[in-house]
């Protein structure tokens, strides 16, 4: 058993010795955490672990004992979308949506550290989130827009 705070709610979870955080979270119903490669290559399973974007498939669940995890399900505040989510919708940054949860969380991690990222900094932040649909043009635009909006409302 491990203790995890997932999206603000602390609880104990059953974790086998070989379980990855990805497997545990999906099994527990956090299916917004996507599985794309199980090898740390695609970033679809990105979550925030103690505030930093990580590939959940590369984290052993037992190593996350005591940690705080944010998945895509925990990003919106009730019915109120996060500015990054709003910007993804407004710019057309979502196509199939499979990479979207990971991409949104990588962007939120970036903006928490750097409220005014340059375009190269944005591209660096989402470099580990592969998308086959979009060509990244609209995601970069979305993150720029979200950053601007978050700076205004701070």
């Amino acid at each position: 058993m491990i203790r995890l705070t997932v999206n603000g709610r602390e609880r104990t979870y059953a974790a086998g010795p070989g379980d990855t955080l990805l497997e545990l979270l999906r099994r527990e119903g956090f299916v917004g955490v996507k599985k794309g490669c199980e090898a740390g290559d695609c970033g679809a399973c990105t979550v925030l672990l103690d505030g930093r974007a990580v590939n959940a498939c590369l984290v052993l669940a037992v190593k996350a004992d005591g940690a705080s995890v944010v998945t895509i399900e925990g990003v919106a505040d009730g019915g109120q979308l996060h500015p990054v989510q709003e910007a993804f919708l407004d710019t057309g940054a979502v196509q199939c949506g499979y990479c979207t949860p990971g991409m949104v969380l990588s962007a939120i991690d970036l903006l928490s550290r750097n409220p005014s990222p340059s375009e190269p900094e944005i591209r660096d932040a989402i470099a580990g989130n592969l998308c086959r649909c979009t060509g990244y043009v609209k995601q970069v635009e979305a993150i720029e827009r979200a950053a601007a909006r978050m700076r205004e409302t701070r």
Partner: protein, 772 residues
């Protein structure tokens, strides 16, 4: 040219976007799986072998193993996995499990167990005795005299010449090319070769099969072709279509690889036999080794040009490697000619011929571009060479020879979807505007003149043009149903298959436009074979044009019914009514809300459900047109190529949702740049994929992509829904020839083999300098 629209032409938010950005459980495996068995497949370790025996007893005895499947206990029906219209133009050369394996990764057996761990242990306990056979690992080996025969089964159907490993053969003529070449003043010939590549949707293939309360088989599956899945699974498992329901939830990308019925037969069989839900989800390595690929091709193009600068004869020969099974073998081959040659319709003599050959390598399938991508590499390289020889600007030479609005091409009629095509006249073509805008944005005139160098780096610019189609004329069918609710909203039920493309959104925009309501009044349900009318699915750039027309017609029928009800309410004749702002508006100024109309129809008098279904089988396939421009820098010491700027100006008719149309282009271009520069499946000497991961098979990430500019050029297609043509595929054809031509402009070497890795570029540079 511009029309006035209220909802069409606006970059509305995707109708399914909110669920996607909040991580709702929308994809196949996002439902409760607690009771589901896990299915795992035993893949062939050999490129070509006969299965002498399979001993599954140890596996079957393991606790937690519920079913072990081999060729001994499953249906033997020959079918094709290609999800195409019936009768499929692909050979029936596949069975669930065969007595022979034909590539490394081919199915040998499968296990359904209580957990993945148990299933994997059970696979390891299956003992298979193989008799290894000589393998064919290239198209040259396949064509060699005395080559081993890959399909020697006696019950296959539709193979052109199985004894010679020829899946399909195409040969069509217009005029007489030999005379045409003799009459030409300049003849250019070039041969280009493309590699094995994989689609790599970020969601791999996945299906959940279960039985419903009445024991019907429900397949919740990541597919582009739900209705073809239903038909092919019924055929394969030998059960009636009525016993199957296929549900397509949100899909994590497809790009053609999910136009294939790959997993549903096995998962369905498990559910039927065990009466338990069964989840079959390919791992990333399996997606590379055991799903589908782009057909690698060798394409030779020969051009004959008169002194007038007009093309007089074009010949194209394509040899396609279809891998171990013939899925899409014929049609991809035919498209290599049919989607390319009509572009240069000034050539009065044309010849397209070629073959698709079996090899003991992974199986080719549908992949965005569908043969045109391979064909345009050779064609646009040859055109570039010809322009140079003639001393003409490449833009000017292309414009002089390209098809224009009001013109046709005999190729349209001669060559279609693996059979005769359909005669058509191009109604909309803004290629000239695409070229002008693209040239301006890249700075063509200035950059062609000056030579920019910096140390070992040399810059160059290149361009190419292309067309695709909008669906398969006189074959593809789409249908849509609209029904009205008493708040003036409408349910739009469609077989059209949104796999991330945004089709749910743009088709709803079409309905909203006709019905004069905002987009939120259209509630979309797409792709459930029990609920939605038939649609062939998402392929061949068909959805916007074909499904879009079905939606438009259904909406027009509903509009007529609304007018029937509103006419007596307003005291206006039907021809004096219009739909605007959620109301029926009469010419005399009266209006009545749609909610009131529906209330009357549902509850008051002459009651009926306002609803209609309409279908579309298009009689033509209007091509979108694209002009590509790229600026590159080549490091002459290392062979590294940097793409500095890519401009794509496209004529797709009216863009129903401009941002989504741009997104289709941007995604296709980046996939195409990856295909041109980095992506290649590599094989061992025994036919095993050596780079079956997203670490070793390089698709482009956010840091790798160059600045990309997409321009949607103003255009209107008279035959299309709201003036639209399709735009899903065309972009992927651009990067290979564009970058090859830009590299040539920079360093004077022609690259004729993809991808353009530093090794290949450097080798070509050294060879050109006599250093090889």
């Amino acid at each position: 040219m511009t029309r006035s629209f209220s909802v069409v032409g606006k970059s509305e938010r995707k109708v399914d976007g909110r669920g996607l950005v909040t991580g709702r459980p929308l994809f196949v495996p996002d439902v409760d799986l607690a009771d589901a068995l896990v299915v795992k497949m035993l893949a062939s370790p050999h490129a070509h072998a006969r299965i002498v025996s399979i001993d599954t007893r140890d596996a079957e005895r393991m606790p937690g193993v519920r079913l072990v499947m081999t060729h001994e206990n499953t249906p033997a029906t020959r079918h094709t996995t290609a999800g195409q219209g019936f009768p499929e133009p692909s050979p029936y050369d596949t069975r669930m499990f065969d007595t022979k394996v034909r590539y490394v990764g081919d199915r040998v057996a499968a296990v359904a167990a209580e957990s993945e761990e148990i299933a994997l242990r059970a696979l390891a306990a299956i003992r298979v005795e193989y008799e290894e056979l000589p393998a064919i690992l290239s198209i040259d080996e396949a064509r060699a005299a005395g080559a081993p025969r890959i399909h020697d089964e006696d019950d296959a159907k539709g193979i052109y010449d199985a004894a010679r490993n020829i899946v399909a053969d195409v040969d069509i003529d217009v005029g007489d090319v030999e005379t045409g070449f003799a009459e030409s003043d300049l003849v250019i010939e070039t041969t280009c070769e493309t590699q094995y590549a994989q689609h790599t949707p970020i969601e791999t293939h996945v299906v959940l099969a279960s039985l419903d309360a009445e024991d019907r088989l429900v397949l919740r599956t990541s597919t582009q072709v739900p209705f073809h899945v239903r038909r092919i699974v019924a055929q394969t498992l030998e059960i009636p279509i009525r016993r199957i329901r296929v549900v397509k939830p949100r899909i994590g990308g497809g790009f053609g690889v999910k136009q294939e019925v790959l997993l549903e037969d096995i998962a369905g069989w498990v559910a039927l036999k065990t009466r338990r839900p069964a989840l079959f989800w390919l791992t990333r390595p399996e997606e590379f080794t055991s799903s589908r690929t782009r057909h690698p091709m060798r394409v030779r193009v020969k051009l004959g040009i008169r002194n007038t600068g007009l093309l007089h004869a074009i010949e194209m020969e394509a040899i396609s490697n279809t891998g171990a099974y013939g899925a899409h073998g014929l049609t991809v081959l035919a498209n290599t000619g049919s989607k390319t040659l009509p572009l240069y319709n000034k050539a009065q003599n044309a010849h397209f011929f070629g073959q698709a050959l079996y090899t003991n390598l992974p199986v080719g399938g549908a992949y965005r571009g569908y043969g045109a991508t391979q064909g345009y590499f050779a064609l646009e390289t040859a055109i570039d060479e010809a322009a140079e020889k003639l001393g003409l600007d490449p833009i000017e030479f292309r414009l002089k020879n390209a098809i224009r609005a009001g013109e046709g091409s005999p190729i349209f009629e001669k060559l279609g979807e693996g059979r005769e095509g359909v005669s058509q006249t191009v109604r909309s073509c803004e290629l000239e505007a695409c070229l002008r805008i693209g040239a301006e944005r890249i700075g063509w005139t200035d950059r062609r003149k000056k030579r920019v160098t910096s140390g070992p780096w040399v810059e160059g610019v290149g361009m190419s043009i292309m067309m695709q189609g909008s669906g398969i004329p006189q074959i593809d069918m789409a249908a849509a149903t609209l029904k009205m609710n008493e708040d003036g909203s409408f349910n739009l039920l469609m077989g059209a298959t949104d796999l991330g493309t945004g089709s749910d959104t743009i088709l709803a925009q079409v309905a909203a436009e006709v019905l004069g309501v905002p987009l939120e009044k259209i509630l979309v349900t797409s792709s459930d074979t029990d609920l939605t009318p038939f649609d062939v699915g998402a392929y061949a750039s068909s959805t916007t044009y074909v499904s879009g027309m079905a939606v438009q017609r259904a909406a027009e029928k509903v509009r007529e019914q609304i007018f029937d009800v509103a006419s007596p309410l307003l005291g206006e004749s039907r021809d004096r009514l219009a739909l605007r702002g959620g109301s029926v508006v009469g010419a005399s100024g009266g209006s009545v809300t749609l909610a009131r109309v529906c209330e009357r129809a549902m509850y008051e008098s002459d009651q009926f459900q306002i609803a209609a279904t309409a279908s579309c089988v298009p009689s033509e396939s209007p091509p979108p047109f694209l002009a590509n421009f790229a600026r590159v820098a080549v490091d002459t010491e290392t062979g590294v190529v940097k793409v500095l700027h890519y401009v794509a100006a496209v004529d797709c008719g009216v863009a129903i949702n401009p941002r989504l149309a741009e997104g289709q282009m941007e995604g296709a271009l980046v996939n195409g740049i990856g295909y041109a520069m980095t992506e290649e499946m590599q094989f061992s000497s025994r036919g095993r994929v050596r780079n079956a991961s997203l670490f070793d098979y390089k698709i482009l990430g956010a840091r790798d992509v160059p600045p990309i500019e997409v321009v949607l050029v103003d255009s209107y297609e008279p035959s299309g829904p709201m003036g639209a043509k399709s735009v899903g595929e065309i972009g992927i054809n651009g990067p290979i020839p564009t970058l090859a031509n830009a590299i040539y402009n920079a360093v004077g070497v022609r690259l004729r083999r993809t991808p353009f890795t530093p090794e290949r570029v450097l080798e070509a540079i050294r060879a050109s300098r006599g250093l090889a």
